[in-house]
Point group: C2
Chain length 529, copies 2
């Protein structure tokens, strides 16, 4: 009854189009990060808020002159789109080719060199906001009620602090959960919470738990040396006072983490952290006529959807031919998002597309499998619609993401570098013909759908909540005010150990004294005798 | 738009009176625990479920022959209501009188003797279910879909296990969060999560953090010695195989903890633990005519509501007179729930009642303050309606509860044993006249109301969820399968320390060997020379 009443009140509120009229500033971002923020921002606009998105003059995926329901706040940066593209190219080249040919000892060095480049670009973008007087003046005059940001592009916390407005983060993860653990204070016992990017699961044997502890420790060390020090320097310079960038991030009022227990392994949480995985998922819309005809022509065999995401446009000719010949051997029709040159081995069952309506295809009743690079967004769409997956992870979090869905029995993962046509064909046939994959992904789909409110509504609620309450300090754990050794009670334990040792020494001394007195007397007595 | 759509769908579902038709078995409980479960059960009945409550033949607060919307499943137990009352009397006598006169050294012994009595009663109640073949047969034939229990009365987990049905717990807390930490695997870093019943807050200095660590350790030790061993014996005997009662409790699918961040200090959580404090709170209904007239006669001064809860019926004549004379000195009218003899000092502004509609009074616009024993239910009603409190805690969790609301600036606490009339009068005047108390409790009230769904709806959602999914295993952290030293990675740390020591020894030995070789040669050379 109460539930019905709540629904009725909510509906009446909606009908009355009650506008909260908040002013939301959105931090600049790119690619899949933007895909995740957009549906939330659209709902916020629906609910009467004004949404203003910061867009740098160099952006690969965002365009401030595009007609949109959002307002844009463009700002100048000292880099070009070419620079950004070159950097992405370098990351892709490293992940897809370089990694197989260079000396394994050199991999971490090359990786950190790439990270260094990445950080330089981040700082140049950030310069455009916090080091531009005009920009900061404009933002201050904007009287924003909240800053909404994906911390993948750093500096939003610093900006929110300068503007004196609440901050809500939308985050997929940081390597080894370094940011979540140290800045948001999220507990992550290494015995059952696998470090992000370790490709471990929550069920670990002794060597794996050892590996996990080492991975956490190593990443913490490397990030401290190569990342946090640089950030602290930048932040301190801007603020003119020694500043910890991690503490500044920890000031965020709310953290919306983009996973849920369909995809992620259960782990501890905090009151100001919510798991809202699958924000962008939605029911399928009808396909374009020509595409629907092709899909229908597949008959009972159905279709396979193939996409390596927005950033991988081309493969080597060999790889493309190998993939095409594998796909030619399966009974399904295949819709392959691929803008490279048409492979010679392309079968009559496969069509190439520059772009596909991925969500609508995955929600189509004829879809039997999804071949994916393993980006979180694509995986979530497959989970939402209950489609088993074949993963060809390429870089970033993709291998890790595939470990999650593979562990849950909803996918098979293959390695692009060593992949051959037979293996790919067999993988696709397996997830289609072995019923367990469909059953498992349907179980994940039920978990995805069966929550008290949709992830988008939940994200919107907490953003509005933070605006209404001008922050969410009452949800903030006190550990933010503790040092690391206080947090782990190491000072208390050390004190107890010292106390115990002192007591032990006093006890031993007393015993020895008594013993000596006792025996001493006897000896004196005997001597006297 | 999506939110509106969800509300519409929910409303349509409600309108269609979609009945899930689950069969819910409810574990026996008493007093305030029942007050908390009842609204959830009523909502479940509204939503088409069949609710069957286990009621022992000896119960102080529950009556299976009362007309009700629930079905009752009475069972025989080898104790009488008199035994239960005697035990409660003993606990009250200990808390209100004995504790002031006995030797402080004896307090823990007396406390554990009372706990022992309590446990014996618990086992006798449990015998009536799990050791009764007729009863277990009946429950098996009931084909229940879920067992809903407050673990304050143990054995529900054992019963759910035998019946093979999912289990949802509703829990306020266990001492030092022993059950939540060890059985539910809820992380509770002692550096900022105060142990339940320690009367500490989440802001602790070094001595307090030391006290907290000691409190956790001491309670864990005592409970292991005096409680868990007994439980393990009982469970093992019933099952005929060695059984850990804590592991059995840890099998619960879902934990509904009856606090929220209005009342509680922010702390870590887990996916199968939700904080649903204030389940029973609801808007005030109009008062009975005579009572409303009395309330209205208070004019601008307003009223004070006074209740020491359901279990404390009488006070000593001295205490009652002291309280009455304090209340006689305040300008407000007072409604005092008190069924003892009328105190001689009772002022004309104070009326005694055997029972008061507490929630309706607290929600009355004329209410200025609430004098309470500090039970969670009463405190939550005061928070819900935004009424500042004066706490006179008596036993159990009451002193601890008052620490929470006092820390949050919404209450003043006094000590019944040392209390005098002036102190009580001043306390009531303070919370009424010092504006900060009203402001703070209104802030807590806003937090209480401002959540994505009401605590009752949230509890109902997760109970239905657990029924729908025949459990909630996917929300269960893997730490359940780890030993305590694995959980804390102590085996990994020990291994690394041993490895380090071995490497150090090898290094030292090598150095020493090289040094000897080097110096040895020189010495031989010199000798030869």
């Amino acid at each position: 009854m109460k539930l019905c009443l709540s629904a009725l009140v909510l509906l009446l509120l909606c009908a009355a189009k009650i506008s909260n009229g908040g002013r939301i500033l959105v931090w600049y971002t790119e690619a899949s990060h933007w895909i995740n923020m957009k549906p939330v921002l659209e709902t916020l606009v629906d609910r009467g808020h004004q949404v203003t998105v910061l867009v740098p003059s160099a952006s690969m995926f965002m365009n401030s002159s595009e007609p949109s329901r959002f307002q844009y706040e463009p700002f100048d940066v000292a880099i070009t789109v070419k620079d950004l593209e070159k950097r992405l190219e370098a990351v892709l080249h490293f992940s897809m080719h370089e990694i197989n040919v260079i000396n394994p000892v050199m991999i971490p060095f090359r990786f950190f060199a790439l990270m260094k480049d990445n950080m330089d670009v981040s700082f140049k973008l950030l310069d455009g906001v916090v080091k531009s007087e005009t920009m900061m003046k404009k933002l201050k005059e904007g009287n924003y009620d909240l800053l909404f940001a994906d911390p993948i592009y750093p500096g939003s916390d610093l900006t929110a602090h300068i503007l004196g407005i609440p901050l809500v983060f939308s985050l997929r993860f940081s390597i080894a959960h370094n940011v979540e653990r140290h800045c948001a204070q999220l507990p992550a016992p290494p015995s059952y919470v696998p470090a992000a990017m370790s490709s471990l699961t929550d069920k670990m044997d002794f060597p794996q738990r050892m590996g996990n502890v080492l991975f956490y420790a190593l990443q913490d060390f490397l990030l401290e040396q190569f990342m946090w020090k640089e950030f602290d320097k930048y932040y301190s310079e801007v603020r003119g006072t020694p500043t910890s960038a991690c503490k500044m991030m920890g000031n965020a009022d709310f953290w919306l983490l983009r996973t849920y227990w369909d995809f992620d392994f259960p782990r501890p949480s905090l009151p100001n952290i919510k798991f809202v995985g699958g924000i962008h998922c939605k029911p399928a819309k009808p396909l374009p006529k020509e595409m629907e005809e092709f899909v229908q022509s597949s008959g009972d065999a159905g279709i396979v959807v193939f996409s390596l995401g927005t950033v991988v446009k081309n493969l080597t000719t060999d790889k493309a031919n190998m993939i095409a010949s594998a796909l030619a051997q399966i009974p399904q029709k295949v819709l392959w998002r691929y803008s490279g040159e048409k492979p010679q081995t392309l079968g009559p069952n496969t069509r190439l597309y520059d772009w596909i309506p991925q969500n609508d295809l995955l929600g189509h009743p004829k879809t039997r499998a999804f071949v994916t690079h393993g980006g979180t967004n694509g995986i979530y769409e497959a989970i939402y619609h209950g489609v088993p997956m074949v993963g060809i992870p390429i870089f970033g979090d993709q291998p890790e993401n595939m470990v999650h869905v593979e562990t849950k029995g909803a996918a098979v993962t293959v390695n692009l570098n060593s992949l051959n046509a037979d293996e790919l064909r067999d993988a696709v046939n397996t997830v289609i013909n072995n019923k367990s994959y469909k059953e498992n992904v349907m179980r994940l789909s039920r978990i995805n759908h069966d929550r008290p409110m949709s992830p988008r509504d939940e994200a919107v609620f907490w953003i509005e909540f933070t605006m209404r309450n001008k922050g969410a300090k009452h949800l903030r754990v006190q550990s933010h005010d503790l040092t690391w050794y206080q947090y782990h009670s190491l000072d208390v334990i050390t004190f107890f150990i010292i106390l115990d040792l002192l007591l032990l020494i006093i006890l031993l001394k007393t015993c020895s004294f008594c013993f000596k007195r006792c025996c001493g007397r006897k000896t004196t007595k005997r001597k006297a005798e």
